[in-house]
């Protein structure tokens, strides 16, 4: 398993990736949006996913999580940086090569029910990818096998999406992603909108598929409880940047960035005084006009003048643990170490 520093055995490596929106629109709609600036949805992000590893990407809506996931799959043009999958550069690949590579990288889309065509039966939905890619009949997995991989009975094959429950629709989406036999899956909010009991079954399914098929995942979610259970590595995004990345237990037990601390404090079980200090005030600022310096400074209770002017770089703050905050060690020193984390568990050096 690799943290941000080790990358030798990585399946996916993202270096300094940027995705910008708005330039094309500015040219086309100049009469209307005269001063429309560039939206830097993803701004210089680096991370890696090792073989069989689960990386959790967390952040509030508008932080660029989904954009990053889609850019990794080559679904958005890249403004800068590179995406290396199994050693080859996805962003500079010919259309044909990318099509072939795409079989190894799949996506479980955000809104499972809405992403399934209402006019296709489940078996049609599951064979669609084979038809598009022109897979030979012998190489296709039978529908019943795909269904049983996601623990659905054969009787669902002839159903239409409206006949499925939320959890079942989610399973069909997962089966669709599995059809091409991928190595890597971007799962965008795989548990959002499900009942607690259904969340547990989907999470168990994702874990089992990883063991059985050796899959790697990038799990995009705002559910910290899910990510704390599921992920090996957690990356925290805020306004297009990764503000903290590290092994899941380090992020959860000893978060360094004030934003990560705030997010974790929004899960219950923290002391009231602590909670007040880290309660997130206001909302994510407009990404078109991000704050100067550290993008989190307007909402940070520890912000100093330096934070307004200078952008913090990602620095090492522990083994395989990086954060982008000028004052992370000072903040940690001010806080009683026993209170600064969820459980007052002893920290391993």
């Amino acid at each position: 398993m690799s943290g941000p520093k080790e990358s030798a055995a990585s399946l996916l490596e993202v270096h300094d990736l940027s995705v910008h929106f708005g330039e094309a629109q500015r040219a086309r709609w100049s009469w209307w949006h005269t001063e429309r600036s560039l939206l830097r949805a993803v701004d210089g992000v680096s991370l890696s996913v090792g073989k069989g590893e689960i990386v959790g990407l967390v952040g509030e809506s508008g932080s660029g999580k989904t954009t990053l996931g889609r850019a990794i799959l080559g679904m958005y043009p890249i403004a800068g940086g590179e995406v290396l999958f199994a050693g080859s550069d996805v962003s500079r690949m010919s259309r044909n090569d990318r099509r072939l590579l795409r079989r190894r990288m799949q996506m479980i889309p955000q809104d499972a029910a809405a992403s399934l065509s209402p006019r296709f039966s489940v078996s049609q939905l599951l064979t669609e990818a084979y038809d598009i890619s022109g897979t030979a009949p012998a190489a296709r997995k039978p529908t019943s096998e795909l269904l049983s991989m996601v623990e659905l009975g054969h009787e669902h094959a002839n159903k239409y999406p409206h006949e499925l429950s939320g959890g079942q629709a989610r399973r069909v989406s997962i089966a669709r992603a599995l059809a091409m036999g991928p190595d890597f899956i971007v799962a965008d909010e795989p548990t959002a909108g499900l009942d607690v009991s259904a969340v547990a079954t989907i999470v168990n399914l994702l874990m089992r598929l990883r063991t059985d098929l050796g899959l790697s995942y990038l799990v995009i979610t705002h559910d910290l409880q899910v990510v704390a259970y599921l992920a090996d590595v957690i990356a925290v995004m805020y306004l297009g940047k990764i503000v903290e990345i590290g092994r899941a237990e380090d992020i959860i037990d000893s978060p360094k960035h004030p934003y990560t601390r705030s997010l974790l404090h929004s899960i219950s079980g923290r002391a009231a005084a602590e909670r007040a200090m880290f309660e997130l005030k206001g909302e994510v600022p407009n990404p078109l006009t991000p704050p100067s310096g550290c993008r989190f400074h307007p909402r940070c209770s520890f912000a100093r003048p330096l934070c307004r002017t200078q952008e913090p770089l990602r620095t090492e703050c522990g083994k395989n643990h990086e954060t982008a905050c000028h004052f992370w060690n000072k903040i940690e020193a001010t806080l009683d170490p026993a209170n600064g984390r969820i459980n007052s568990k002893e920290n391993t050096p």
Binding site: V199, N204, A248, E279
Partner: protein
């Protein structure tokens, strides 16, 4: 705080017609809500929690009806109130906040217009006066720059802001009861805390009683004084919010808590609740949870358990039944017909 309940729901049962059949809605729901109290209602989808809120505000869809039971609100039985009386109560004494603020706000009217309209529907005063009231309320829900906000349309506001506007409109007329149906489900975790804090704050300042409906036990436990757990239209457990997390009594509540992803279980599969919620078409003879319950016995699928008091809580489970229960009994199973 007085001890007189502001809202008292007694054995409330609803049904609805579909496919020419009468189907089960909520069954035999009872609870009291005192002034300034927050009651959280938790349940999975299809448990009837929204039906309960619509029944209280008498906004059930046309094919649904209240079959029996009483809803006493400030001394008035809402089950027999006329539509005219209900119209007067809604907005004024009973206010509602819904899950999706974008579809509950009128897209073509400014925030200010919608707030003033709410005031004008129940009062006679000058527009100027109302605009000041509206601006004041926006400021109280944490929206700055109120003059400009009042002139904006819903689409110009962010999701969290819209939900604040919904709460501001609901609180404008200082209602005695606020029903919030999944008020934070569409929001980010950081905003959930803010909105819940806001609701709790108004309870302190205005003495508003609040009914919060959510599928998220975490949200409920941080906000509510009491929690009612619903399953398949029935009340399973009613208990103090802290107590229900620490010592859940009903096996269903225990399952709900145990299936929440817990990092201490990393590497091990999460516990799940086998089976599924019985559909409205199925007739439930015994306990609604019997088919999925890890502690089920013969009596569970044969006889409907009472909503009996255990300490300060109430539980609908045979384990805790004063006569046939096996709470303190470690021997072999008692015969089903003990009573």
């Amino acid at each position: 705080m007085t001890t007189q309940p502001i809202l008292s729901v007694e054995a409330l049962t609803t049904n609805y017609r579909a496919d020419g059949m009468s189907l089960r809605g909520i069954k035999d729901i009872s609870f009291d809500l005192k002034r300034g109290e927050i009651l959280g209602i938790v349940g999975e989808s299809g448990s009837g929690k929204s039906t309960l809120s619509f029944a209280i505000s008498r906004l059930l869809p046309e094919n649904a009806q209240i079959e029996s039971g009483q809803i006493e609100f400030s001394g008035l039985d809402l089950t027999i109130a006329s539509p005219k009386e209900m119209r007067r109560l809604r907005g004024d004494k009973i206010a509602m906040v819904f899950q999706d603020p974008l579809s509950s706000l009128h897209p073509c009217l400014t925030i200010g217009r919608q707030m003033v309209d709410a005031l004008r529907a129940h009062n006679s005063g000058s527009r100027k006066e109302y605009q000041n009231l509206a601006a004041d309320m926006l400021a109280r829900v944490g929206i700055g720059n109120t003059g400009q906000r009042l002139r904006q349309y819903p689409h110009e506001l962010s999701g969290g802001m819209r939900q604040r506007v919904m709460i501001a409109i609901a609180l404008l007329l200082r209602p005695d009861l606020l029903i919030a149906d999944e008020p934070t489900s569409a929001l980010d975790v950081s905003l959930q805390g803010q909105i819940i804090g806001l609701l709790a704050g108004f309870r302190e300042k205005l003495g508003t009683s609040v009914l919060i409906i959510s599928h998220d036990l975490t949200v409920i436990s941080s906000a509510a004084d009491f929690v009612l757990v619903m399953y398949a239209g029935e009340s399973m457990e009613l208990a103090n919010a802290e107590e229900i997390f620490r010592h859940p009594l009903h096996p269903y509540t225990q399952s709900l808590i145990s299936v929440m992803p817990d990092r201490r279980l990393r590497g091990k599969p999460l516990p799940t609740i086998p089976g599924r919620v019985p559909s409205a078409h199925e007739t439930i003879v015994g306990c609604a949870f019997a088919g999925r319950c890890p502690q089920t016995r013969h009596v569970c699928s044969a006889e409907r358990p009472q909503f009996s008091a255990v300490g300060l809580s109430r539980v609908r489970c045979h384990i805790y039944d004063p006569q046939s229960g096996w709470l303190f009994d470690t021997e072999a199973e008692k015969p089903a017909a003990a009573r």
